[in-house]
Symmetry: C2
Subunit: 141 residues, 2 copies
DNA sequence: GGAATACTTGACTATTTTAGTCAAGTTTAT
DNA sequence: ATAAACTTGACTAAAATAGTCAAGTATTCC
């Protein structure tokens, strides 16, 4: 399974962004400073988020990024998808002779990983950016 | 998150083993052939499983491994633990200035990863080796 | 219109992890 | 005694990760 800091950073940055949504664009520089994430790395991440239409960029002075949809409508699944964090738990041995083709000759544990994958995706499908922000509402930044 | 083929192999091998439990020890060579896993790699994995008392070794000719507990009592959590597959989703930035110490100043997404971890562990805690074998009962090997 | 701010893109890389291999044993049944 | 099988530890090629670096382009504000 793949779930690394690129995904975490994306979620952290968007949670940060969501707090200012509808007020003004947030610059990556600000996010970088607040969340302690390298600016260059954030640029990579936001480039992907923009392509998947999760955020919009606002150019020029006082520019930055804003959410392209309501925080409530952005599920964590969408975010992970955008930055190529696949919640693929494990693929069965590729091209194995003994192997698993997913159809007639499933490997012993094939169904298990399928179930797990559903289990995890289910979790991410339910959580929205809004949920994150709300659960941190009382915090100081 | 870490969930790689070492964990998958461990589960596959033990599922294979579980089918012959109480009949006779199963040699790693047989498992290697049936499951298409390198013998040397299996040895590494079983060394860990033995140390965590999930399997017992039987030395000598006709030797091999047997389960140390009933298949029903071996949860997937136990297996992953044994082979060092941590279901640690993500740790928050280590020693960050802005960072998350897990206590007073939790990072924005800290609770999220906690929840996810529980969600996944919950899944693995419920699944036993026996469940796996049973759900594959009709298969030919 | 020019400076400053901020987004945009693409190439590059050190480090770490993964998934093994290789070598040299020890133990035990027959 | 010999072969089967477990046991241990060191080593490594390849891939993935987590970035950095460089060179832009676009826009706003003064």
């Amino acid at each position: 399974m793949k779930l690394t800091s690129k995904g975490r950073y994306a979620v952290m940055a968007l949670a940060d962004l969501a707090r200012f949504d509808n007020i003004s664009p947030v610059s990556l520089r600000d996010i970088s400073l607040r969340q302690g994430i390298s600016l260059d790395y954030l640029e990579q991440i936001f480039s992907k988020l923009r392509k998947k239409e999760i955020v919009q960029s606002v150019r020029g002075t006082q520019g930055g990024y804003i959410l392209n949809r309501k925080a409530r409508e952005i599920k964590l699944t969408n975010i992970f998808d955008a930055v190529d964090e696949k919640v693929k738990t494990l693929q069965c041995k590729k091209e194995s002779k003994k192997g698993c083709n997913g159809k007639s000759t499933k490997c012993l544990t094939h169904n298990l990983w399928d179930e797990l994958e559903n289990h995890i995706n289910n979790f991410f499908d339910k959580k929205s950016l809004d949920d994150l922000v709300k659960s941190n509402f009382e915090r100081k930044f």
